[in-house]
Symmetry: C2
Subunit: 244 residues, 2 copies
């Protein structure tokens, strides 16, 4: 019994037709569980498959020659993974599970069929890719032009926004299920420095911490200090073609 995770995410923005919903459901017919730390795909693996993340938490990253790692993106349930691989025979990025996860693998050809049969879904997929792109460029700007403290703060705000997108009841407090090393690899810092920045944010009263739990104590100030913009809200999809 396939779920409709991806369809559910898209439904938050447009009303899907039954045919569209059905087509998307077919991408989730198979499923696969990956344990915490498990690798779904290594860079340079054959990249024929794509995935829908049904549950858990995953991340995409690259390893550089000297062994250092740059985390490119964290993935939350309902996202499509591995889209960047569609243009290369070998995957440009690695994907692994940050927490135990379930993914639904499907072939590139299935994506082509969706695009062919449903122009509106094709447009939505393109649109979602743009949201991710803008989110990436925000991080690019953060790495290039903002301080360590701002980058860590922005990551916290981003996590809260994205957790909230999946669960509207999440308020100022949430669980940051990442090690400080992972935060460092995402923000371009060392784990040691991440620790100091978290402490500083705490001392300044912008956040509070207890174990994994983080509380945003002064959202206004934190947003100002980090230049954070929530890119998952206020989408403008009025131009989409009609659904079939």
């Amino acid at each position: 019994m396939p779920a409709h995770c991806f369809a559910d995410v898209l439904s938050e923005h447009i009303d899907l037709t039954p045919a569209e919903r059905d087509t998307l459901g077919r991408l989730e017919e198979r499923s696969r569980t990956i344990k915490r730390g498990g690798i779904l795909r290594r860079s340079n693996d054959r990249s024929g498959e794509l995935f829908i993340l049904r549950s858990g938490l995953m991340m995409t990253y690259v390893l550089l020659g000297d062994g250092s790692r740059q985390i490119l993106r964290f993935h939350f349930p309902g996202e499509m993974l591995g889209l960047s691989g569609i243009v290369y025979a070998q995957a440009p990025e690695s994907i692994c599970a940050v927490a135990e996860s379930v993914v639904c693998p499907f072939e590139r050809s299935a994506l082509a069929e969706v695009i062919e049969a449903h122009p509106r879904l094709a447009s939505m997929i393109l649109a979602y890719a743009q949201v991710e792109r803008v989110s990436l460029t925000d991080r690019l700007a953060a790495l290039g032009r903002t301080s360590a403290k701002a980058r860590v703060g922005a990551l916290l705000l981003d996590w809260r926004s994205r957790l909230r997108a999946g669960d509207g009841s999440i308020g100022e407090s949430f669980s940051l299920a990442l090690t400080q090393e992972e935060v460092g690899d995402a923000t371009g810092l060392t784990a040691v420095h991440v620790n100091r920045m978290l402490r500083q944010l705490e001392e300044e009263g912008l956040i509070a911490r207890e174990g994994q739990r983080v509380t945003i104590r002064d959202e206004r100030a934190l947003a100002a200090a980090t230049h954070y913009v929530d890119r998952y809200r206020n989408l403008d999809l009025g131009w989409l073609p009609a659904g079939r």
Copy 2:
């Protein structure tokens, strides 16, 4: 008389049908010239339009609160600009001309029509967006995890690859039509430090310079030092649906 810049770029990878070519040509019916330094679109402007860059050189960037600038991408002729704006009412990024340029503006609705009428073109546009995405993540990794020298070196290699894509006759030597400040804003460095890095690369015999002209003198060593990967080659588009 509309040109077919965008169609020409896509033609390097697949054989377009006459109908596809014609449809793409309609995106280039109007045109507009922008002088060096001219701004095509400011961030937070209404972002209803997209563009095909017919000639010249443009760049996309963001300005941060403190006035610093992060250049997100340089754009060469044949590229589609402003795609990231399709999901937001207000543009997330600014676009300006690095050299005098000609662009062809078109509406989002025209993009929707292309997607609706030609699934293969929709797939190609999505695929191209992925190439750009991977190129962005390469830079994200460079900013997060590589040295100043490596970032500057990678920018040089990237420029050469992209110039060569437009003009196969370009060899080891090319004109880098950027100020050192622009290089700095693209690589997350100060202009002063870019200068020192260029000088160092020169002293080490990896490159030579005279005025704007740069020559790659030891490509092997430069590629190794920068982890550069050319993402514009070896695309795998065998999965595309049939053309209409």
